[in-house]
């Protein structure tokens, strides 16, 4: 199976996942409503005289993205497990690489859309002067989300085989989100404070290293999860 074939399979799987999602919409709207609720609760869960909106905003943003994203990831392999559709995938010429990339792509679009819809609300709620720095913030969001989704896709394939998958996923996944989330919060803090770019490079390279390493590690290990 060549790289073109792998890409074709990945696109087919991602398109299928998004079509299913578009049909049911439950996961999308639950994640979105959840995100808005978390943003709101975090806003009020502080002493407004001691902690300013801007101090709170970066942490609030990433806690929200993390938990809303995890809601979406939980169902990523439930779909394949339901009628053993995953057997249908495995009987086809699709390689584990193609299947993994497809699932990651589908999840990335899903989590990405939830993030992009809640981002304006975040800017509005927390009154963050971000418009000029938006490109930089989107880059950070893209990087952290890619790392998060790659590891999350692998773990979602693991926990779907257990009985309490919705509890198991956060327990296994959150330690792995610690480095990218801390990096993303630090970066977001500097971006909203309009700090010069060279104050970003350290965390940015750490984040990028994490994403590259864990993306390929998850890709390699996925094959061991898929076999039976």
């Amino acid at each position: 199976m060549g790289s073109y074939e792998t890409l074709r399979v990945a696109l087919a799987i991602a398109a299928k996942d998004l079509l299913v999602e578009q049909r049911t919409k439950t996961a999308f709207f639950s994640s979105l409503v959840f995100a808005i609720l978390v943003l709101t609760i975090l806003y009020f869960a502080r002493d407004a005289t001691a902690v300013s909106d801007l101090d709170l905003a970066p942490g609030a943003l990433w806690v929200t993205f993390t938990f809303a994203g995890m809601l979406g990831l939980n169902r990523a392999f439930l779909l394949e497990r339901e009628n053993r559709a995953v057997d249908g995938l495995r009987l086809s010429p699709a390689t584990p690489t193609g299947i993994f990339l497809g699932k990651v792509l589908g999840n990335l679009v899903f989590v990405g859309v939830v993030e992009l819809v809640s981002l304006p609300l975040f800017i509005l709620f927390y009154d963050v002067p971000i418009w000029r720095q938006l490109g930089l913030l989107l880059l950070v969001i893209f990087l952290a989300t890619t790392g998060f989704v790659a590891v999350g896709t692998l773990f979602s394939a693991i926990v779907v085989r257990t009985r309490f998958s919705e509890v198991m996923l956060p327990v296994l996944l959150l330690p792995f989100l610690f480095p990218p989330i801390v990096a993303a919060v630090q970066l977001t803090r500097r971006i909203v404070a309009l700090r010069p770019f060279d104050e970003l490079t350290g965390w940015l390279s750490m984040l990028a290293a994490f994403v590259v390493i864990f993306f390929f590690l998850s890709l390699l290990l996925f094959e061991a999860i898929l076999e039976e």
Binding site: P175, Q186, F214, S218, I225
Partner: protein, 227 residues
């Protein structure tokens, strides 16, 4: 089983050694001028952290070996090491605050090594919880090995993350490029204690591993008897 008995002997000797370390620490090693008696905890705290880290590395490396060879004996080593590692990381996590309160004036600090050990502990527990979720030993071995390898790569990232975030912990006292900053007598006590904790780890591991193997044989025989 012979290795179980040998493990018991090693554990026994190591426990005797631990008593020796404490007699040495309390009686023969001078009192640290600023930290006072609390500093004596250090002779358990640091070696326990070392043993937890060792256990973690063994789990990760044997997970990788399992994924490459699919030989069950590697899985049994990895899982035994994880269980032993939980014990050591708990010792490290409880002695840390006991020492931190009188010395730093706070029970807990988010310093790089303490936080990394907390994560090692959490990863170990997650690993063991995941193992408990599967009945089929082949799936259990394969899935937990994937987690073991992922965790091994993760911990350096966590360490760097916290280190960059901030660090309050005293500088590494042992492996400083120029020369160790710990006075000679204290250093000797610490090194002996590290040796003792390594022996303790090995002793625990041999017993835990022997238990795993025996359990395995029993389960296999039960199934054969029912077949």
């Amino acid at each position: 089983m012979r290795s179980a008995r040998r493990g018991t002997v090693i554990t026994g000797l190591a426990l005797l050694g631990l008593t020796g370390v404490y007699i040495r620490a309390l009686v023969y090693t001078p009192m640290e001028r600023l930290q006072g008696l609390a500093q004596k905890i250090f002779y358990v705290h640091a070696p326990a952290a070392w043993a937890a880290l060792l256990a973690f590395a063994v789990t990760g490396l044997f997970s990788l070996l399992y994924l490459i060879t699919r030989d069950r004996k590697f899985d049994l080593v990895a899982s035994s090491s994880a269980e032993v590692g939980v014990a050591f990381s708990l010792v490290m996590l409880t002695t840390g605050p006991l020492w931190g309160k009188p010395v730093w004036g706070t029970w807990w600090t988010w310093d790089a090594r303490l936080t990394s050990t907390l994560f090692i502990f959490l990863l170990f527990v997650g690993y063991l919880v995941l193992r408990g979720a599967f009945n089929d030993f082949e799936i259990r071995a394969r899935f937990s090995a994937v987690l073991g390898v992922m965790a091994l790569v993760l911990v350096p990232f966590i360490h760097v993350t916290v280190y960059w975030f901030r660090t309050l912990h005293p500088e590494p006292v042992l492996l400083k490029p120029d020369r160790p900053s710990l006075p000679g007598v204290m250093l000797t006590t610490l090194l002996i204690s590290i040796g003792v904790f390594t022996a303790l780890y090995v002793g625990f591991m041999m017993q835990r591993h022997a238990l795993t193997v025996l359990r395995d044989i029993r389960d296999e025989e039960t199934v054969d008897a029912n077949a």
